[in-house]
Structure formats: structure tokens, C-alpha cells
Symmetry: C2
Amino acid sequence: MVHTGDGKGKSTAAFGLAVRAWNQGWDVGVFQFVKSAKWRIGEQTVLERLGQLHAETGEGGPVEWHKMGAGWSWSRKEGSEADHATEAAEGWAEVKRRIGEERHDLYVLDEFTYPMEWGWVDVDDVVSTLRDRPGRQYVVVTGRRAHPALVEAADLVTEMTKVKHQMDRGQKGQRGIEW
Amino acid sequence: MVHTGDGKGKSTAAFGLAVRAWNQGWDVGVFQFVKSAKWRIGEQTVLERLGQLHAETGEGGPVEWHKMGAGWSWSRKEGSEADHATEAAEGWAEVKRRIGEERHDLYVLDEFTYPMEWGWVDVDDVVSTLRDRPGRQYVVVTGRRAHPALVEAADLVTEMTKVKHQMDRGQKGQRGIEW
């Protein structure tokens, strides 16, 4: 699945899918391919809380949330000065490994269109990995300007189009709505 | 806010907003203006569970989820044979009352474009009620073909456009993804 376009709701809808998947008992992995996405903290808090509920009570499914910035949580390189391109490539390599192992039921690759656009990950590798993934694994990719090859390979593509946004009129982002 | 268009993600993104609002400690009211929306049950389960968490631990905010079909939960008319139009009008009357009382911080009026389209609620009444709402209350309306007057009054309008959907190729909806 691909959520693209310049409008709001790409990540929010992917997050909604993740919560719905949790409710079905699915194993959810979220991978944020953006550095310090402050406004995604609310989503992270809630999904991790749901994952904790799963661990405590067996409700729903397990949740992992990984994000770029000072190294991915699975690598934990101390004082890493890795540049964004390297970090994004490492993130994709890990996602690819997990897809090969059928580690999760749903993967949210948030803002993953950008490392694809900037050449930080190989588009053909992404498309063939996703297209040939084993078993029953679902992947949702968010971000503007999804690569045509990704759109071509996807089963479901939604474009979120900005019709109107109050920030165009000079209002600031609002707590609870924007982040 | 209005989520409209023929694509996926209108309700899912509104649901994501509701979960984010919960995390901020907001009072969330969801009003489903569709009868027996089977595939929204997952969202309802999760949001109500979050509301229960709030009651138990003080985390997040309170949540109410109301839906049409055999009477709204606040009215509980036994054996009601009310037609959909009447029920939708009653739903809107209640939402309007609550907005007047500043009862919730976020209102999700799910699929509310349809009762507006079908003349079951008065468009001018909806627009003026939303435009003149007191205090700091947020409202998100979902559904296709949002009325131009609603779009005009809204601060943020996103159109979800279907670029591609596997159901067009004859696949059935998938548990966890479609509902």
C-alpha cells in the first residue's frame, strides 16, 4: 500500500491501519525514515502503549517502533555520526531482512518515499523485495512523490490531495492536530 | 476538517487523529452516521479500550463512540423502527447540542457527508453550527462528495484520491486491512 500526495493524512492513515492491525492481533513494525519527527511522538506513545498492553494482557498484537536519528534502535551505535543516507540504507537493509524472515504482519515504512527519491536506497531492490515478499505480510509506504515503480508494484495507492489548509493562511500547527 | 474523495483513508485518518487526541488527554466523541459499519468495529474496540484505560489509569482522555442503527446509544428507544433519515437528524441534533455545551474536544462525524447530501440534515444548520462553535473544539467530517459549503467553511480539507485499488481487480476486502 502506498499513501502519497501533498495532502495531510498519509502517515495518520497508516497509523490508523497499524492500530487496526494491532486489534486483529497482528505483529506491527513501524520504521520512521525521518529524523526527529517530533509530531509523530503521540502515535509512537499510543502504539507502544498498545504493544505493552499486548505483553501484559494478551490483547491485540506486539508492536515495535523504530526511528532514524542517532542510529536505529536495533543497532545502538554509540556516538554515531552516520549521515542520513547511510542510516536510511541501514534501515532498509533491516526491513528487508525482516521481510525475508516474515518477522512482522504489517510494516509501516513512514516517509520512505524520500530515501527512495534521493537515491539512498535502491528503488529496484525495494520494489522486488516488496513484490516478492514471502507469506502474508502487509507493507504500507508513506510520503510524497512515490516513485512510479513503487506505484506500479503496489496493490493499493491513495493520493492525499491538499484542497485547503489553514496553515496556508498563516496559522501555526496545533498541538493534538498536527502532532 | 474534512476528509473527502473516493480514495481510502478518510475514516482511517480521522481515527488516527482521534487516537492522537486521546494521547493529548482530549475528550473524544465519535459519531458514526452509517448503519452497521462492520469494518469500523476494530477502531471502535481500540478507541473504547483507550477510553477505558483513561478511566482506569488517567492516561489519555475519555472516549465516547456512538453509532446509528437501532437508535443512538444515548436514546435507547426500544424496538425503534425509525428510518435512517430520522435517525441521522437525531444524531446531528445531539452533536449540535454537545457542541453548544462544549462537551468534547474532538468530534469525529464519520460518513456525515451522506446525510448532508441526502437532505437528512440541513446543510446551512451544519455549516453555521460548526463555524460558530464556541471555545476550542475540533470537528472532523468524513465521506465522499463533501458539500461545497462545508468545504468552504472548513479550515483543512483533504481529498483522498483512489489511484489504484486491488479490489478493482476482483480481490475481496481483507481482514485487518479493510476492517
